[in-house]
Symmetry: C2
Subunit: 319 residues, 2 copies
């Protein structure tokens, strides 16, 4: 499950008045917050507490994470001259706290640690729009009308993301997840032309490290075959695509992660259990199924539902 | 194209300081605003200027349309007692202005007029969430955990929507469009169980009138076969689903409306033309293709792109 514990009361306490970027720079806080859900739930893996904007902030961009809104840019990146504001990004030099937190965590954990990063299209959308966007209209316009700007931006972002993920694996992460949260806003042709080459560059650039690579986006039903071509072993799908339909599009060799609707965990345990069993039913006991929510845990989720959910899945599947 | 002309300067002038609900109650304003895009573009149909919340406001609910936000409720509908606040809705008595505007328009127009309404799930989401929602979490929770509340609400909404659409056809609308804008937030099983029966009740309840019925939602790739079962002759699809993939899921007997990405019209004409030709290519000249955007026209769209787009489509297709 993603968003390691941001919905837990002990997270709110550990966080105090700091924002996610400030927390990400404090290895002790990262260790504590990453471990919190593991103390409550018998989960099979941990995911590094961080934010997709961490490498961009480390490269000198003016990013802040507004509570209830998401990442917001002081000055968006919209013309060629703006690209100069993206500074260099060497993980050891500009974000040493990521490697440090990862090393500390790997020592503490009994389960594998998943590293993570945002994918170039999603990062580009935050940089260009200046914050979350319903339609990504400026991003799509630049993508279509300013190819040289687009290529320079995507080159730069994919280089940073690759370095960021390599550093996490080198520090001990046992798998990586590349989040292209907003890729589902694109039609498949646009995705293939303007996004896939850069996501592939990152995922292929990790191949020599030999760790499983997970690739995820929201609303990506039509993009699954193209996203598979980017090179990950595991595709994460949201709750909109029934798992059996996902495998039809991906082929049986691909592992699939998902896909309980996060809203199903916010009400009664009975509804949560019913929907979770439907997901397992669709997965049909395939060995390549990683049970997960179809997107992040929602803030109103009763932690007890999640604890019961983990136990239910363990009980119903071979461990 | 939907949102008849809300992006045009002459609309902003006609609107003055009134909101969409106030305009919808003024037949002269509705006629003027519905005709505006027809004066600029050689479109093949007009769509009644209105808002999906019109019947709910007419039934006494405290709804306002906030500029840049969307429909917002004074008091959301969340428990059984709240249902009593939805008053009765007889179109002739509570919304006579809709029939009046429709009759005036049909006299003026050289092209068919499309009537329209929001579908019960989308209306329910606005009533329950109290405004636009990213995840529809309260709506889905009630849908799963409070079946008797859900059934009563959906019964009531589908009855109102059916009456509203029948009144538009009886006043002269030549086709109807039922917008389930947010249905794409549901997985197919939840859609079939909690939404489809009521959408079907509306569409089947129009069958005797003999007008074409169009059914549309955003992000509905996985729902298309189920939405087809609701009974419409035409399914509208957004830009995420390539038209040939849509027909594979719907069968060749279904007409398909769509699906140019609205952001493609906001930049250069060259990009707009290229994306429009890709849509036509996917449609492969099928007689059951109604060219349209995959969602509403965005406010920044240069009207000249739309005029050229209509001409391009006419030029490239048999008229």
């Amino acid at each position: 499950m993603r968003q390691a514990g941001r919905y837990l009361p002990e997270y709110l306490e550990a966080r105090g008045s700091r924002d996610v970027l400030a927390l990400s720079r404090d290895p002790e806080a990262v260790v504590e917050i990453t471990l919190q859900p593991l103390r409550r739930f018998d989960a099979d893996a941990a995911i590094l507490f961080s934010d997709i904007m961490v490498p961009l902030a480390a490269a000198g961009l003016d990013v802040r994470i507004e509570s209830g809104v998401g990442p917001v840019m002081g000055e968006p990146i919209r013309v060629a001259e703006d690209l100069a504001r993206i500074g260099s990004f060497d993980p050891a030099e500009h974000a040493p706290y990521v490697g440090e937190a990862t090393r500390l965590l790997v020592k503490e954990l009994q389960v594998p640690l998943i590293g993570f990063a945002g994918a170039p299209f999603t990062l580009a959308s935050y940089l260009i729009e200046g914050g979350p966007s319903r339609d990504h209209r400026r991003t799509k316009r630049l993508m279509r009308d300013e190819p040289s700007f687009w290529v320079r931006l995507m080159d730069r972002l994919s280089e940073m993301v690759l370095a960021h993920l390599r550093a996490q694996v080198e520090a001990g992460a046992a798998a990586v997840q590349l989040f292209d949260s907003w890729a589902g806003a694109l039609d498949p042709e646009s995705y293939r032309r303007h996004v896939l080459p850069w996501s592939r560059r990152i995922l292929e650039g990790l191949a020599d490290l030999g760790v499983p690579r997970i690739h995820f986006g929201v609303g990506t039903g039509e993009l699954l075959p193209a996203m598979r071509e980017a090179g990950a072993e595991v595709l994460g799908v949201d709750w909109r695509v029934p798992l059996d339909a996902a495998w039809e599009r991906l082929g049986p060799e691909t592992a699939v992660q998902g896909n309980l609707d996060p809203t199903a965990c916010t009400g009664s345990w009975e509804a949560c259990e019913r929907e979770a069993l439907a997901v397992l039913e669709r997965a049909g006991g395939r060995p390549g199924h990683i049970f997960n929510l179809g997107h992040g845990v929602l803030p109103e989720t009763p932690p007890d539902n999640l604890a019961r959910l983990v136990d239910l899945v363990h009980e119903r599947t071979a461990r």
